[in-house]
């Protein structure tokens, strides 16, 4: 008996020795947050950074003016309060006092305006400020944002990650090194660009309580399986996960948190039938709604991580209307009928773009189009080309990110120019344009109601062929909890808390 114990002790001693000499594995203490992210930080300059996966990086070193919460509300951070003018063309913002940047510069109205101007000029951040006329310093802790026209999305986008404040002296050099006022400092000695980023907690940060982790590491790991392996081997404790691995995560006792992030389906570009006449016929588009079995696709390809719906408004958020979901229940015969009615009993021919990321849905489309007699020619291209070229095709398979704000959804899915929507066509359809116009004029509850009305109209017109809304899934070890935010591919550090 005692011999067995000795043997066990010897074995565990060896195991200890092996573990202890591996610093990468050793510090498993609860004080450290180790995030496995999908992409590397796009840029340390908030003006050039992407919202998608940059959240954890940027929210570590920068404080934003406003932050978006999981429920869609906006939290004051460096801006303590804000108010629209009566005509909603001007916003007045009060700023937090007593905040200094890590380099010693003081955060005040001058600094905020300098930053906002920098962001307005930025290639990526400009999307938030397209309607800004000018930023004005009112007094030391107040600024005013004058708009050229009413803009219901600016605050939402600022909260999403377009209002990070950097030291005004360093605005030109942010691409090389971040310079913010955030809760953490980038530890350049321990960080390896492209591979791992380490952050040290700033002792006297004004909002220290929101950021309980002493030490933060973020590992960009492109490959989902590699990320999962890293989590299995204990190298990370929060992971941007592949829903495919949920059963194993449950087995490991990890926390699993999910929230819808984007819709999957067909984006019709050519509602007016400029290139493919058939698409101008609402019956054809409706047929393409009936023809796809969203639930089956979600279960087979999306590992069931999502919600079946035919709308682009995130499920359960204002603007979404559950009663619309039955409109295009899977019915291939109905689809054939509608096509025949529209005069396309034998289908028609289209060319569609294809890129590796979308390849997982390609077979389903091939299959359905085959059934309907629609002849598809595929143009293969890489993601870079896809983003340039996809909207030049009459329709394409899409995964388009959603927003947790009805006005933002209306704008970003329908009315504003986006890579996936180069020529917003809603104006060509008076019944739709009128509804959009009244939604844009309304405010508050009225606006939500009007946008829901637009949603109904869009669904009836089969503006898209939405199969389902896909969820982003995050695994975390039992002592950590992640609160996903629709609109961000990866939530901010404030949304990752000890449990």
């Amino acid at each position: 008996m005692s011999k067995t114990i000795t043997t066990v002790a010897a074995i565990s001693a060896v195991a200890m020795a092996l573990t202890v000499s591996a610093p990468a594995l050793a510090q498993d203490g609860p004080g450290e947050l180790k995030i496995g992210n999908f992409l590397d930080v796009t840029s340390w300059d908030p003006a050039l950074a992407d919202i998608g996966f940059d959240g954890p990086y940027l929210s570590a070193v920068y404080d934003p003016l406003i932050a978006l919460e999981p429920d869609g509300s906006l939290t004051p951070v460096l801006a303590t309060s804000w108010e629209y003018s009566d005509d909603r063309t001007s916003i007045t913002m009060d700023l937090r006092q007593g905040v200094t940047f890590h380099d010693g510069a003081v955060f005040d109205a001058e600094a905020a305006v300098a930053n906002l101007e920098h962001l307005k000029a930025g290639a990526r951040s400009n999307e938030a400020y397209v309607n800004v006329w000018e930023f004005k310093v009112v007094d030391e802790d107040t600024i005013q944002i004058d708009l050229t026209q009413r803009d219901d999305t600016i605050l939402y986008l600022m909260g999403l990650g377009r209002s990070y404040m950097a030291s005004p002296d360093k605005l030109d050099t942010l691409t090389e090194a971040p310079a913010g006022s955030g809760p953490y400092l980038l530890d350049t000695d321990r960080s390896v660009p492209g591979s791992e980023y380490h952050f040290n907690k700033v002792a006297d940060h004004w909002d220290s309580e929101t950021y309980p982790f002493e030490d933060i590491a973020i590992y960009p790991i492109l490959d989902a399986t590699a990320r999962h392996n890293a989590m299995l081997s204990g190298q990370i404790n929060v992971n941007f996960a592949d829903a495919e691995n949920i059963p194993q995560a449950e087995q490991m006792g990890w926390n699993i948190s999910s929230r819808v992030s984007g819709w999957v389906g067909l984006q019709f570009v050519d509602h007016t039938g400029q290139f493919v006449e058939a698409l101008a016929d609402v019956r054809v588009r409706q047929a393409l709604n009936y023809a796809f079995n969203g639930g089956a696709i979600l279960n087979a390809i999306g590992a069931g991580a999502g919600v079946v719906t035919n709308q682009v408004f995130p499920v359960g958020t204002p603007g979404y209307d559950a009663s619309l979901n039955d409109m295009y229940a899977y019915n291939l015969d109905k689809a054939r009928e509608l096509l025949a009615e529209a005069g396309y009993a034998d289908g028609f021919a289209v060319t569609m773009p294809m890129s590796p990321i979308f390849a997982q849905w390609q077979p389903a489309v091939v299959q359905v189009f085959n059934e309907l007699g629609i002849e598809v020619t595929w143009d293969d291209m890489q993601m870079m080309d896809y983003q340039i070229n996809a909207p030049k095709y009459p329709l394409f398979i899409s995964f388009i990110a959603m927003d947790n704000d009805p006005a933002a959804t209306l704008a970003r899915q329908l009315t504003s120019e986006q890579w996936y929507n180069l020529n917003p066509e809603y104006g060509e359809f008076p019944e739709l344009a009128d509804l959009v116009a009244s939604a844009k004029e309304a405010t508050g509850e009225d606006q939500v109601a009007a946008i829901t009305e637009v949603n109904r109209q869009l669904t009836e017109m089969a503006w898209w062929s939405v199969w389902y809304q896909a969820e982003n899934t995050y695994f975390s070890t039992p002592e950590i909890e992640v609160q996903p935010v629709t609109g961000m591919m990866f939530p901010l550090l404030r949304h990752i808390q000890p449990k």
Partner: protein, 313 residues
């Protein structure tokens, strides 16, 4: 000797120029408008145009070429189009990672390839030879990334002997560094071991048949001493293989670097080619050709030392 070095150096420079010119024009032909890949989809036409001008892409290609070439000639590969950081710096960060892994892989290949090849070659058609041939065929047939995955699952996820992903700098921890490069190096070395062992085996069999080996034995030399004679005569081909492997892995370890999430040259190539960051791609091309030139030079010296007859030519 000096003439030899000068000649090799000149040949190397010519090669370097030719390959970089070729790659420059190929890349610019293939990647026509990098601005979308660089700016993302939210950028306006004006911003893209501004970037085009900032990057100098509006100039005639030949002018762009001369601009790049004249800087590259003095060792300045310009700045990345993506993050405007110096290409030299980026390569300097990534190169040690890849060099660590590839050097370790080459060492493993040399050790196991030579051992297996010698054993098999000295005992042709023996059980050992057949076994090593069997192993060889299996390793050759298994796709490299498949092996990597199995290694990760066994040794990183289940046993936790090695990290599953990532790279530890030797300055932080030597043992951590060795652990972080072991699995990738092993998976990179398998194919090389196969090739080197096979090559060496055949050479050893050929050398073993030569008259001088019998004469050496007739002089009473021990088996060990005779083996050293055989090895020295048989190793040039295997050594050449090792050199080729080392050089080609420097820019060819993309899949393994992806699976182990190593921030090396391979990942830099992959990410840069996806967004069309031509200066980075060109910089890597030049650096890897420099390595080719250096390695070939060292190889020639080594081969000349091994077999002086080669030296005279």
């Amino acid at each position: 000797m000096i003439a030899f070095i000068a000649k090799r150096l000149a040949a190397g420079v010519v090669l370097l120029v030719a390959v970089s010119v070729g790659t420059f024009f190929l890349a610019h032909t293939a990647i026509t408008d990098p601005t979308v890949g660089l700016l993302g989809t939210t950028a306006t036409e004006a911003q893209r145009e501004a970037l085009t001008i900032k990057l100098g892409l509006d100039r005639p290609l030949i002018v762009q070429f001369w601009d790049w070439f004249s800087h590259a000639a003095i060792g300045d590969f310009g700045t990345s189009w993506r993050n405007f950081q110096s290409v030299n710096d980026q390569i300097a960060i990534k190169l040690p990672v890849t060099l660590s892994v590839v050097s370790f892989a080459t060492l493993l290949t040399a050790f196991f390839g030579i051992t297996l090849g010698m054993i098999a070659g000295l005992n042709p058609n023996s059980m050992l030879d057949r076994m090593s041939k069997g192993i060889t065929v299996v390793l050759f047939a298994l796709p490299g990334f498949w092996v990597s995955l199995v290694l990760v699952i066994w040794f990183a996820v289940n046993l936790r002997w090695f990290p599953a992903v990532g790279y530890v700098q030797p300055t932080q921890s030597i043992t951590g560094w060795l652990r972080s490069i072991t699995l990738p190096a092993v998976s990179l070395s398998l194919m090389g071991i196969v090739v080197v062992a096979e090559q060496l085996r055949n050479e050893v069999i050929a050398v073993n048949k030569q008259d001088f080996v019998r004469t050496l034995r007739s002089r009473g030399l021990s088996q060990g001493q005779v083996i050293i004679h055989i090895l020295r005569n048989a190793c040039p081909a295997a050594l050449t293989m090792l050199a080729i492997m080392f050089v080609s892995l420097l820019s060819g370890a993309i899949v393994v670097e992806a699976i182990f999430s190593l921030p090396g040259i391979g990942q830099l190539i992959n990410s840069s080619s996806q967004i069309g960051d031509i200066p980075v791609l060109l910089g890597i091309t030049v650096v890897s050709v420099i390595f080719v030139v250096i390695v070939n030079f060292l190889l020639d010296i080594a081969l000349g030392w091994i077999n002086p007859k080669v030296r005279v030519k």
